[in-house]
Amino acid sequence: MVRVVVDDGVTEVRLDDPATGNALGEVMVTAIGSAVHAAAASTDCRVVLLTGTGDTFSSGAPAALLAQLAQGERHPADIRLPRVLLDCPVPVIAAMAGHAVGGGFALGLAADLVCLARESRYGFTFMNMGFTPGMGTTALARHVLTPAVAHELLYSGELRRGDAFSAAGLNVVATRAEVVPRARDLARRIAEKPRRALEALKRTLSLPRRQAFEQALTLESLMHQVTLGAPGAADTIRATYVE
């Protein structure tokens, strides 16, 4: 599910389930959490670099999970994966060379530095499936993208090419092949700094996002009671889910 490579202060956590587009099923979510916790527990780790195998960095929630949410078998507030990155004591770099959709994009936007590929696509498809965004996206997107762009993507469900984010002030927007090497350069530069200082700065810089994330989860779960609880919600998701 997840491969971990440690190199001179940089712990690469690679989502490695390309057959599902690195979908965020229960096993993957647990694997990411364990890998990031283990990285943080090692005193040698000064940066976490999050990458993904294949054309898709992460396709977000698998169809089965959305069906469980719509049927009330799972509670959307239980899905707190971005918190793993927000609470990671050292900075996290998301190198999203492949597409990132829905919760997959939310995961990447929870990182401290964000890298996209020109030819990959990024967006939030929640509203295309008839329900409101989850996983803290209503907060995370605004903190990384401009609020205007975040609102547009959340309302429209557009899957936008990475090159359209060039002006959004992200850390890296490069060709697919260049994204991970560029992100790794960035990681090495940060990994030269002492862990104690990195921890202090991470805690400070991430504070507004951590607070906004908690608030967003609360509001998003209220929206979900309305939109996922609506009659026919499960059917709409089934008809509109993009594999």
Partner: protein
């Protein structure tokens, strides 16, 4: 609206989605993929074309398609079909 009009709409959205495509060179017997469109490019091309044509085709139907001609026929038939947004 003719089939050619529908083709022009599809090709326009394809050209917006992929780099360096000359719309004049598109052969509709080939697939969107052969013109460099990845899976999510195709999602945006098809949804953009449906929006412009004011038609809705179920995703299950779209998944069966193999080339641009097939997509154009499906959109055109839906558009001119009885009572479907025509």
């Amino acid at each position: 609206m003719t089939r050619e009009d529908v083709l022009a709409v599809v090709v326009k959205h394809l050209a917006n989605a992929v780099d360096g495509l000359d719309p004049a060179t598109v052969d509709p017997t080939r697939s969107l993929k052969e013109y460099g469109a990845n899976s999510l490019d195709i999602v945006e091309v098809v949804s953009g074309a449906m929006r412009e044509l004011k038609v809705k085709v179920p995703r299950a139907e779209l998944n069966k398609l193999t080339n641009i001609d097939g997509l154009v026929s499906l959109l055109h038939d839906t558009k001119s079909g009885a009572g479907v947004g025509a």
